[in-house]
Amino acid sequence: MSWTRAIVNPTTGIAALASLVCVVDPALAAPPGHWSVAVERLFGVSHTWRRSADLPARETEQSSVSVLTQRGEGTPYAATRLGFDYLFDFGLSLGGALGFSEFEYDYDYDDYRDKTALLAPRAGFFLRPLPELGVWVRSGLTLTTSTSKATSITLEVPVIYLVPNHVVGVSVTPYWEYGVTRNDGIFELYGADQKVTEVGLSVGANAFF
């Protein structure tokens, strides 16, 4: 069994999260608030591998660097989004991001209309080693449909600087979107035909209430 399959197995993830809950001192896990609303993937760096389902499979790579805005052609996971999470006193968090859009091009000679959707449920654990520093280990799924469909297992670790005497924090988030397809066991229903994997470092912000 490869290590990627071990990650895909949900039992492994649940066991790892349960272990974290058990071993961490509650004082170290106290979140700054029970609710978090975040602006995520605002800008940053990323590298994307895309493998089509065609035979022979076509593989392409894309690199992106953005500062203070995200203007370019995005990959399926690049869209700026709002994330909502609930944090328990002992550090466990449940939440996710979702989004929807519809667009239309009206040319003189033709029309084109399409819809996009993003659903990214997740669970995580909030660690607070310092009063002004949070480390939030999160894992979940990201399902997207745009001009093409992509699904991934998401692992991300936002490091959050909590502004003193304020409700907001600035987050720098290393993330890994491991692409899965219909052929990957339990993802037969939700998997995509193409495999899109991405690693990156994104900047955003959180507000805790």
Partner: protein, 237 residues
């Protein structure tokens, strides 16, 4: 507005202090007439003194809280996150009308001037604000690469009719510069926007709903106009 509020609070606090001091003096007089050795009167005097101290401390706390609650001079905005967009492009190269709507995330193609961005503004005491946004994005594939710059300076005026609601009319310019392997494009627009700001978290955080117009500054036969309503957030420091 902040000055008026502070003045009212100051007057209220002063009134409370005078009333408290008057009560305190009355108690002292009564105590003096009766007997300094009267134990009950002494307890009352002590209680009155404690009450005066507590009232003064409460006034100071209120004043500090009010000062801390006012929106700060610096603000960082997260803009053009999602909403409605309408773009009209006319020219030799292309003629197209583009429209989109989005909720919580916008994965649709980027047309016109809008893109999620970070902006910084400084607000003077009179309400005038100066600031803007600047951004850079470069992306590359095996056979092509593209670079984009965004620059959007602006001035505005923050009106705050209530403690939780603000209007922030702003005007400025938005410049876009694209360069790629195949083509390059420069666009410049006059930007008018009227963000409605709902302030939460002791006026330190605002949710914004911003109607806007981007009117292309004609540089030739091609034009690119945009209008819409977009959601965002603003953090005051």
């Amino acid at each position: 507005m902040g000055g008026q509020r502070e003045g009212q609070q100051g007057a209220t606090a002063c009134g409370r202090r005078l009333a408290t001091a008057g009560a305190f003096c009355s108690l002292v007089s009564v105590a003096g007439v009766a007997s300094a050795a009267d134990a009950g009167a002494a307890v009352e005097v002590a209680a009155a003194a404690e009450a005066a101290d507590a009232a003064e401390a409460a006034d100071v706390t209120e004043a500090v809280a009010a000062a801390e609650a006012a929106p700060g001079a610096w603000s960082v905005s997260f803009e053009r996150l999602f909403g409605l967009i309408r773009v009209d492009a006319h020219g030799e190269r292309r003629t197209v009308q583009y429209g989109s709507y989005s909720l919580f995330s916008d994965s649709s193609p980027r047309e016109g001037y809008s893109s999620p961005r970070l902006a910084l503004d400084y607000r003077f005491g009179i309400g005038l604000s100066v600031g803007g946004a600047v951004g850079f994005h470069a992306w590359s594939r095996a056979d092509s690469s593209t670079t984009a710059w965004v620059l959007a300076p602006r001035v505005g005026y923050l009106l705050q009719p209530t403690s939780w609601l603000g209007f922030w009319p702003r005007a400025g310019l938005t410049g876009l510069w694209f360069s790629g392997d195949d083509a390059a494009e420069d666009e410049l627009a006059v930007t008018l926007e009227l963000p409605l700001v709902v302030l939460v978290a002791q006026q330190r955080l605002g949710v914004t709903l911003a109607p806007y117009f981007e009117v292309n500054v004609p540089g030739g036969e091609d034009t690119l106009h945009e209008r819409g309503v977009q959601f965002g957030a603003v953090v005051f420091f």
